[in-house]
Symmetry: C2
Subunit: 214 residues, 2 copies
DNA sequence: TTGAAATTCAAACAACTGTTTGATACAAAT
DNA sequence: ATTTGTATCAAACAGTTGTTTGAATTTCAA
């Protein structure tokens, strides 16, 4: 049974979750090797099975841990800004930053992105609990721009057009670097990229809204 | 040494390349198991090493073989249509179809898409020889719509916005199905999806072109 | 037909990787 | 101090997977 005193036990658990978070995010569930995780956590190979029952248990703990860290500001994009156009800009900037920066707060977004593109046993949990709400938020913003007459189908496809653009820059990093040698993943350039995706998408949305109006 | 007569040798080589094409495309290089490939090819485990020198050699042969099959109509989008807007529609429809249909002709596009998202040892070859030309074609179309005053950077980002949308529907299939239960990967719906991406992107491009003009 | 080269095959090999084991160390409680 | 439960560790285990081996078979030219 688990012991919550601040002793070595908790330290090992914590160190394991920390290094596992990094390695799962970097390489994905299948390619992440337990031996690499325990080495980085400065503990023994058997520790994963002892504390988490196995690799899958560790992965579940990683999701739970990072969900708790991110839950506070998971969807901050909507409430603050007023016009849906500004909500969208904020949503895109926030999402893209999380996919591409190094913050601990952003880990859950990266885990979700992984599950979306290469599902594991935790797919249903992660999508149901995190991806669906995020998507619903974006759908709401899309509807705000497209207007009340837009069909649900059109709304969802616009959301996916935006998500798709953002994910591309995360998943296809090496190809991006080759196809656009000037491109940099610096914070400043990520801002500029978010602006491009926002401008591009806003143009697309307005065109769709207009077409529907005619 | 290789013998080109139409005997059992060539049959085995051919069957191996065929089943390997399917399995590499379906699961990716790392997850494709030689034992599955040889079983589907109805031959022995050692055949891969005998005929191709190893898994990597087989993968290289798969790329070469499918490149030869697709080379004839790799970039047919540009020449036929006149207006760049129509070129773009055709490009998107063709690319999306190839990513999502079951044609043998489309295999090379799927292999390229895999390399873009999860590079293997063949990344440089594949990107240099196939992805770069495809991208240049699309860049040309983008420039046709954006006008001569658009910066190279803007052109490239628009290309990537389009590619990103298309790749999303291929790579995130399971998430798409969950987030949009009505969505179907039927040929008819793929056409409609291509229309959406085209409309959305055309709106974005026109907005960018206009902003530049002002 | 015969013999050499090419091909196929079952088996073994070797490296990798998640899991289990049994011994040891440590902590807190009686 | 002894006991008990917890934690750590090195080692072994078991399954998977790419590769190699050596014998058997087939092919084909002389």
């Amino acid at each position: 049974m688990r012991n919550l005193q601040p002793d070595q036990t908790m330290d090992t658990r914590f160190r394991l979750i920390e290094s596992a978070s990094e390695i799962f995010i970097e390489r994905g569930f299948k390619e992440a090797k337990i031996r690499d995780i325990v080495e980085q956590a400065k503990t023994n190979l058997a520790a994963v099975n002892y504390h988490f029952g196995g690799k899958e248990g560790l992965y579940a703990a990683v999701i739970q841990h990072n969900a708790a860290l991110a839950i506070q500001d998971m969807s901050p994009a909507v409430s603050e800004a007023r016009a849906p156009e500004e909500q969208m800009r904020l949503y895109i900037r926030t999402f893209l930053k999380r996919l591409l920066d190094d913050n601990i707060q952003s880990r859950m977004s990266k885990l979700i992105a992984r599950e979306v593109v290469e599902p594991t046993a935790a797919f249903n949990l992660v999508v149901e609990q995190f991806a669906v709400p995020l998507h619903k938020t974006l759908n709401g913003i899309m509807r705000g721009i497209l207007g009340p007459n837009a069909g649900e189908e059109s709304v969802r496809r616009c959301s996916m057009s935006i998500i798709g653009q953002c994910l591309y820059y995360q998943r296809a990093r090496r190809a991006v670097q080759r196809l656009d040698p000037d491109f940099s993943y610096s914070p400043a350039n990520i801002e500029r990229l978010a602006d491009h995706i926002s401008d591009f998408s806003l143009g697309g949305l307005r065109a769709l809204a207009q077409r529907r109006a005619s």
